[in-house]
């Protein structure tokens, strides 16, 4: 298919991942004490790109950007919420899934980025339940198909109305010749533990499954007649709220709008600065350390709110990574650098560790965990450059560990007066930020080297110079000033010369060594199977199912099994 760049319907040049509840077009948040309700009510004419209508609560990236924003805001602005109810704001339809016309007209890169972001958002729903004790109940009224059911699958409890016509379905295969791309198959088997032959029937039955059978097959948790639905929803919300150990009467902080300045070759945030060398296909992301020591108390942290350095940096970094992913497709390498004092970063980590049971400190660490995972899952070569004046310590050391390669300068720069580069580890590097495979980045790094992990633990809190860091295996190479510029230039030029596809494949394979989790399986299978199918003529060819959808004409398949 023609991979023609499409036009954003708002006339903008870049896809913007920042959202503002006052301008939501697709979601409504309602609060009733400790229960929040998130209503999906997609504005049909509110598509992110031109050329399709979002009928029947179908969604595109724009809808999901708002969803991700709402979920993040719930965590920071409404800590008093103990249970989230997810439901449709439209009669007779829950959600028809990803918009097919949008998918059919999407470039491959758009499809991949869309599915990836959607998956990350679904995972954050599960993370809120698992780590913030704020479960989600999904109330399905009307048709709930494809991505709609995948959204429901992210909830802890699915209630389906038993009105004789409301169904749950994964119709991707029979209808579109693709797969449920946002974890549907994996969650059906691994989370819901649906028997595999039942799952086979379910995933090949376009109209889906309703009523009692949906419960018997574990596709939903309960079916309830319409007349009792609201009572049951209330009861379940109370039950789940009772189980949550979140304290009552918490007051949230405001996630104030990100301050961003876009220029031709740069984006300036405040704690993050991004610059693009488009000719060399490099994006450089500079992370700035804190300007002042951490506050004395948790209450002070709360009053700093969104300006509290770790939170501000996490939000800005998240936005920067998403912006590069979606809007800078030709960038081959993301180079991470940092500026600041490592000791200060460690002081903030210590502060967060000390206050780890405070709701805000917990949410900030969980946000960092998700941002770091987002970096792990970014299909660009990731490089950390550790130079004099940098502050890759504690939480920021995770960036070095997340990189495919890291380079550290030995000693001072010729003529420079900054102190030699140093990195430092903190307790936080040993479990607070697991990767999608469930391991810390250090564990993933030293899969076969238990002594190396122990050695790393012994140097917690110590500022490590380049030679020591290399010896401990914390950076790839340490070079002195004589070799530094050439080695880095040659590496970056080489990297940009390789096939982008094979790099994406290799890097993803190497980043996630060790065990699988449901999360790692979801992303791996999206990448391996769905993205394979997304390239095949049976779905995206001129006569393929995705292209022919909606025309009434039947797809023509290449019948050879591969």
């Amino acid at each position: 298919m023609a991979d023609v760049q499409r036009r954003l319907s708002n006339g903008a040049q870049r896809i913007d991942f920042a959202a503002d509840p006052a301008r939501y077009r697709h979601w409504k948040l309602k609060f009733d004490g400790d229960v929040a309700t998130l209503l999906m009510d997609v504005d049909e004419k509110g598509g992110l790109f031109e050329g399709y209508d979002l009928k029947l609560n179908s969604y595109d990236l724009g809808v999901d950007i708002e969803l991700a924003d709402a979920l993040t805001r719930l965590r920071f602005e409404h800590p008093e919420v103990k249970v989230l109810i997810l439901r449709s704001g439209k009669p007779r339809v829950f959600c028809a899934g990803a918009n097919i016309r949008m998918l059919a007209s999407s470039t491959h890169a758009d499809k991949v980025n869309f599915c990836k972001f959607t998956n990350e958002t679904r995972n954050s729903i599960e993370d809120a339940s698992e780590n913030s004790n704020r479960p989600t109940i999904c109330v399905v009224t009307g048709a709930c198909a494809g991505g709609g059911y995948e959204l429901a699958l992210a909830a802890d409890h699915i209630i389906l109305t038993d009105d004789g016509s409301s169904t749950v379905a994964l119709p991707e295969l029979p209808l579109l010749a693709v797969l449920p791309g946002t974890g549907g198959l994996t969650r059906v088997t691994d989370k819901r533990k649906v028997r595999r032959d039942h799952a086979d029937v379910f995933c090949t039955t376009e109209e889906g499954i309703k009523g009692k059978r949906a419960v018997e097959w574990r596709l939903v948790d309960e079916v309830v007649p319409n007349s009792k639905l609201e009572d049951v929803v209330k009861t379940r919300a109370r039950e789940f709220a009772k189980k949550s150990n979140r304290p009552a009467d918490l007051k949230g902080i405001a996630l104030t709008p990100l301050q961003r300045k876009f220029a031709a070759d740069s984006v300036e945030y405040g704690s993050v600065a991004v610059s693009f060398d488009r000719k060399a296909r490099i994006a450089t992301v500079i992370l700035r350390g804190p300007k002042s020591p951490p506050p004395a108390t948790a209450a002070d942290m709360t009053s700093q709110g969104a300006e509290f350095w770790p939170l501000k940096l996490a939000r800005e970094l998240d936005d920067a990574v998403l912006d590069i992913r979606a809007n800078e497709l030709d960038i081959a390498v993301i180079v991470f650098k940092s500026e600041g004092e490592g000791e200060q970063v460690l002081a903030y980590d210590k502060f967060l560790d000390t206050n780890r049971d405070h709701w805000l400190a917990r949410e900030i660490r969980l946000l960092w965990k998700r941002v770091l995972k987002r970096i792990d899952l970014t299909s660009r070569s990731l490089v950390a450059i550790v130079e004099p004046g940098s502050c890759f310590a504690g939480t920021l050391a995770e960036i070095v560990l997340a990189a495919d390669r890291s380079y550290m300068l030995i000693g001072k720069r010729d003529g420079g007066n900054r102190p030699p580069a140093a990195i430092a580890l903190a307790d936080i590097n040993f479990g607070a930020y697991p990767m999608p495979n469930g391991l810390s980045r250090l564990q993933s790094r030293f899969l076969g080297e238990a002594p190396a992990l122990d050695a790393a633990r012994k140097v917690i809190g110590t500022m490590l110079d380049a030679v020591t860091a290399e010896k401990l295996g914390l950076v790839t190479f340490a070079y002195d000033d004589i070799d530094w510029d050439d080695e880095i230039r040659i590496f970056l030029e080489e990297r940009a010369s390789f096939s982008p596809d094979s790099l994406t494949g290799m890097e993803a394979n190497l980043r996630f060594g060790g065990p699988e989790t449901m999360e790692s399986k979801i992303f791996a299978r999206l990448t391996a199977w769905q993205n394979w199918i997304f390239q095949r003529p049976n779905s995206v060819g001129e006569e393929g199912a995705l292209r022919r959808y909606g025309t009434g004409q039947k797809p023509v398949f290449d019948t050879k099994r591969v």
Binding site: S165, E207, P225, N226, G550, T551, G552
Partner: protein, 481 residues
């Protein structure tokens, strides 16, 4: 196999050789008691023991299929009746155009076909449920008999769809057959599948409007299913159409007789202005503006039944050879529609515009246009009635953008003439266009039963001829005490 006569040797009359088809016969016999329970619970209320002068099919020969006699409705011989098979019938449209018609369900289209049958099937018992209270306010025994005839035939149409489900769709088909008996019109918990079939039919004018407009949608759907490449569905629908014609006759003449009575009363009393509602109503007849409002309501609800103007489902069903166009075989084109377009009324940039859409996806629009044409003819015949009495008034179909819940115009408000209104003006003016509560109360007040032989309620004229050519004072229903 060409069976014209109906086999009454089994408990289920049929012309499909049920005696030799033990599996399906058993399935239907298993379903039968549940059906009778449904009929007793949800069929015409208060008249189950009455003897009704009904026609029963004895042959599917177009000339001689009906036999009239008194029968208690629960004992009506519901059965399975297919129109005669056409020798060497071919799939008349879609990607399989010209291939032999299927006698068995093609696996790849099974789900879609089942859905079509279930949706059609769901409307049949729904209307019986909607109309179950009307017997108590019948304006005459003649009308009461027509109501019951319509009801038993809707029941038979349910049988027709259930036969297809039981014979061709295995266990799923049996489950769907049960579902058809368990949903209830207007129920919160188990509503019927389509919106219009969950609306009330509160009075006889609504009933006539329903049989004229909504049953005519049924006719159009049956017409397009009668074209199906799945031959058993085609034959079933062809026979159902012969029965459906009577339902529309009931609707058209019912409204016609109401109009007739209104106009005659106006002339007799010297009330020339049809908009002088108060004076007209004092005559004990239904004023023409209220009839227009009822017409507006039922026409717009029925348009919704055609689904979205641009529809992938309709395109798929056509391309698969399952659901054709109205009078498909009489249309002169390639019957594939892969490269042609059809004009569709859409709401574009705040205006109602005609836009060419691929003909395949515009099939709902096309069928709806055919429907509108069909409705228009009936409205003209009513206007002739008004004209003949000398009253100066006309009835008309409202604009397709008026009062819609489904399709292009569902988010806007428009007058019956298609002028756009904002939400506030709509709220203020909607009682001008649609029956208000007061209108409903007035009609309800007129709904006094009349069961004397040959007598009619004051708001409706007698028919020109009786059913089965019976005289005016014939006892169409022997009401059980």
């Amino acid at each position: 196999m060409e069976i014209m006569n109906v086999d009454y040797s089994t408990r289920i009359p049929n012309n499909v050789g049920l005696t030799e088809d033990a599996r399906v016969l058993k399935a239907l016999e298993t379903w039968h008691p549940g059906y009778l329970d449904w009929w007793r619970d949800m069929g015409p209320e208060g008249f189950q023991e009455s003897l009704v002068y009904l026609r029963t099919a004895v042959s599917v020969d177009p000339k001689g299929w009906a036999k009239f006699d008194y029968v208690r409705m629960p004992e009506y011989r519901w059965g399975i009746l297919l129109a005669p098979a056409e020798a060497n019938r071919k799939v008349p449209f879609g990607q399989h155009y010209g291939e032999p018609a299927w006698q068995e369900v093609p696996g790849e289209h099974r789900a879609m076909l089942r859905r079509l049958v279930v949706i059609q099937g769901d409307t049949e018992p729904a209307s019986v449920e909607q109309q179950r209270h009307l017997g108590k306010t019948a304006p005459s025994l003649y009308d009461m008999r027509n109501l019951f005839q319509v009801n038993v035939e809707e029941g038979r149409h349910l049988w027709a769809m259930v036969y297809l489900l039981q014979k061709y769709f295995g266990r799923d088909g049996r489950e769907e057959s049960e579902g058809l008996l368990s949903r209830r019109s207007g129920s919160t918990d188990k509503p019927r599948m389509l919106g219009a079939f969950n609306e009330e039919t509160p009075d006889w004018l609504s009933f006539f409007m329903f049989t004229f407009f909504t049953d005519r949608d049924g006719k159009m759907q049956l017409e397009s299913l009668a074209q199906s490449g799945f031959d058993p569905l085609s034959r079933t629908c062809r026979f159902m159409l012969t029965e459906e014609a009577h339902h529309m006759f009931v609707g058209e003449t019912g409204i016609g007789r109401t109009i007739q009575r209104t106009c005659e009363a106006m002339q007799a009393a010297g009330v020339p202005d049809p908009n002088d509602i108060e004076r007209v109503r004092k005559l004990g007849v239904i004023d023409l503006p209220t009839i227009q409002k009822k017409l507006n309501l039922h026409y717009s609800l029925s348009l919704d039944l055609f689904g979205s103007e641009v529809s992938t489902n309709a395109a798929n069903a056509f391309n698969a050879g399952l659901k054709g166009r109205f009078q498909e075989t009489k249309i002169e084109d390639d019957h594939r529609l892969e490269n042609s377009t059809y004009p569709v009324l859409k709401f574009v940039d705040g205006k109602i515009k005609r836009v060419d859409e691929p003909a395949l996806t515009a099939l709902n629009m096309r069928l709806r246009d055919d429907y509108t044409g069909d409705c228009g003819k009936g409205v003209e015949r009513w206007n002739k009635i008004i004209e003949k009495t000398g009253v100066q008034a006309r009835l008309e179909l409202p604009h397709v953008a008026f009062h819609r819940q489904i399709g292009e115009f569902r988010d806007i408000h428009a007058t019956p003439h298609g002028e756009l209104l904002d939400a506030a003006s709509w709220q203020k003016r909607k009682d001008e266009f649609l029956p208000s509560k007061a209108d409903g109360d007035f009609i309800a007040a007129l709904m006094k039963p009349v069961s004397e032989l040959g007598k009619f309620a004051g708001w409706i004229s007698p028919p020109k001829v009786g059913i089965d050519n019976k005289p005016g004072d014939f006892e169409y229903v022997k009401i059980a005490a």
